[in-house]
């Protein structure tokens, strides 16, 4: 037998903000490790946006070339596809909670002497970073649809993607708190994601919708995100004012057009409210 070594006695420091921050960081870090390990998923998740952009977009453009005011449909769809590309990774990231529960790892987190808020926040931030990373892979395709690279719009768009990804992950985490099977979780996600996408203006201008449907879109956080990203991406593009009015009608409250900064704030606020709900839910567990 080897010589008995004196055990190193670990003295845990008193609970404090520093400790909670370490917990947030490590939960987030795990999300990144898992994402990076699952490189196949990154590629698979890229397929859908690329299909929408280059197959659906190209196919449909033969129908709409007359109405788009000289703007390529793919250019129009690009911001919507960008928003779409972060949806599934954000949901998958949140859905890992369901897996963690099934395989027991959630218990390891829930019995730790650390606030539940730190764990939920770490999860949501991790999902935000992972989903944004996925969005970046779509972002770099911009020149292929006639949008030249420039630091200005790209920086702003990435910021908006981070906020959107965070909010989407909070929705996913809230849902994952109550659902016990991954199949059930994915079914719910599909039920939420598709209507959210269709009622957000990601694929077509909302100006074409009847009034009652347009008022529904005002309740959809994705509407604000898509509009903000589209206005950001189109900022420097040379297109006619007529096309701009049709393609980017903007979001209006009453008669007031909501500015991009407020749109982003709306998305962030929704995320924070849902986050609070998710924390409350995990506190009860």
């Amino acid at each position: 037998m080897t010589a008995v070594i004196d055990p190193i006695q670990v003295q845990l420091p008193a609970r404090g903000v520093g400790h909670d921050l370490r917990a947030v960081k490590v939960v987030m870090h795990r999300e990144l490790i898992r994402f990076w390990q699952d490189r196949m998923r990154i590629i698979v998740a890229l397929v859908q946006p690329v299909l929408f952009l280059f197959v659906l977009g190209t196919g449909l453009s033969s129908l709409t070339s007359a109405g788009a005011g000289g703007v390529d449909l793919r250019t129009f769809m690009f911001p919507g596809v960008l928003a779409m590309s972060v949806m599934m990774p954000a949901m998958f990231s949140a859905g890992s909670i369901v897996y963690d529960r099934e395989y027991g790892f959630l218990r390891e987190m829930l019995v730790a002497p650390v606030s539940r808020a730190a764990i939920v926040l770490g999860k949501c931030l991790g999902g935000a970073v992972v989903a944004t990373g996925q969005g970046l892979l779509v972002l770099v395709l911009a020149p292929a649809v006639g949008i030249p690279y420039s630091f200005g719009w790209m920086f702003a768009a990435v910021t908006q993607l981070v906020v959107l990804s965070f909010t989407l992950t909070t929705f996913g985490v809230l849902a994952a708190g109550r659902i016990t099977t991954f199949q059930g979780f994915m079914a719910l996600v599909n039920m939420i994601v598709m209507p959210m996408l269709f009622l957000s203006g990601a694929m077509f201008p909302l100006s074409g919708l009847p009034l009652w449907l347009r008022s529904v879109t005002l309740l959809n956080p994705l509407t604000y995100a898509v509009d903000a990203i589209r206005r950001t991406v189109f900022e420097d593009l040379a297109i006619s004012d007529v096309a701009r009015r049709v393609l980017i009608p903007g979001v209006h409250w009453g008669g007031w057009q909501v500015p991009v900064s407020v749109e982003v704030a709306v998305v962030a606020a929704v995320g924070l409210v849902v986050l609070a709900g998710a924390v409350a839910q995990f506190r009860r567990d």
Partner: protein, 325 residues
């Protein structure tokens, strides 16, 4: 110092079912304390309450000097947990799992590297620290969980069925680690098991059945309290032997594993009478001291295996008590 675990009148009710019905218990610092009973007796529910995972319906419990209801975080900082089911992330390496734990528990960075190495070496997984947990065998995973449970130097380590589902060799190696642990660290170990032979490793045992503690003592004292030895006979005619045992000695016997089996006080002294008076040819005799299984039987009227299969009320108290060692 306050006892490591102090429980008073602990009750847990789930809707209609009363899983734990008023438990009182004191576990001293440094003890290896075993909670023995069939599945469904309330062991896991009790341990869940002590670990702050489940709120008690009534009563109180203090672990490492802190109340499980009102000082939840203080309890959590002072305990290590190894559950029945694995709670590792299979896609992370052994070391990544431990680092995750260290961050969640706020282990100071200055000691982390050394402590990490120490606990991994103790369970013999230092060489495998870079491997993903998914490639580990069941025994390796359990050892890693024990290492993780110890990482933050808890005062009480809770082990819920630490060897369930493991092969005998791995089970005994897990017990070796637990034995080493007592020598090295100032730690109280509170464990549940439904393996009788494993309960023998404990300093003291509480026998629990139907949500109540029916006996608490050292394994030796509990066995001594039974007072009867187990006798097994090989005979020429088992049926006739059983009838003769009942008629002549008033003993309730049954055939188990090819031998007529019964219990009697002072077995060695009884054997000569047996040869003289049984009237059936005896080919072999063995006399054994009572096991913890017999202890459980003498308190509850059932063996642990009966209790688990939901039968109960088996005529001979020997049923299931043999062949488990």
């Amino acid at each position: 110092m306050s006892p490591a675990v102090a429980v008073r009148g602990l009750v847990k009710r789930f809707d209609e079912v009363e899983a734990v019905r008023g438990i009182d218990l004191d576990v001293d610092t440094g003890e290896v304390f075993g909670f023995l009973g069939p599945n469904g007796a309330g062991k896991s529910t009790t341990i869940s309450m002590l670990c702050t995972l489940v709120d008690p319906t009534a009563g109180s419990a203090r672990v490492a000097g802190h109340d499980v209801r009102t000082e939840r975080d203080d309890v959590r900082r002072n305990i290590g947990l190894v559950f029945q089911e694995t709670t590792l992330d299979g896609y992370l390496s052994a070391e990544q799992n431990l680092r995750f734990h260290a961050e969640l528990y706020g282990v100071p960075r200055a000691v982390l590297a050394d402590r990490l190495r120490q606990v991994l070496e103790m369970v013999g997984l230092w060489e495998r620290r870079k491997s993903k947990v998914i490639t580990f065998s069941g025994g390796m995973k359990r050892r890693l969980e024990i290492a993780r449970g110890l990482l933050h130097s808890p005062r009480v380590l809770f082990l819920d069925e630490p060897t369930v589902g493991l092969d005998p060799q791995t089970r005994s190696s897990i017990w070796e680690y637990i034995g080493q642990l007592r020598g090295r660290e100032e730690i109280t170990i509170f464990m549940t098991t439904h393996y009788m032979d494993e309960a023998e490793y404990c300093d003291r045992i509480a026998i629990i059945d139907n949500g109540q503690i029916i006996a608490v003592d050292t394994p030796a004292a509990l066995k001594a309290s039974v007072g009867k030895d187990r006798v097994q006979l090989g005979t020429a005619d088992d049926g006739a032997a059983i009838v003769a045992l009942r008629d002549r000695f008033g003993l309730d016997a049954a055939v188990h594993e090819g031998a007529v089996t019964f219990a009697v006080a002072e077995g060695e002294r009884f054997v000569p009478r047996l040869f003289a008076e049984l009237g059936v040819e005896i080919r072999s005799v063995s006399v054994a001291r009572p096991s913890l299984d017999d202890v459980f039987m003498s308190y509850t009227g059932r063996t642990i295996r009966d209790a688990e299969s939901g039968r109960g009320g088996i005529p001979s108290w020997m049923v299931g008590g043999i062949g488990r060692r």
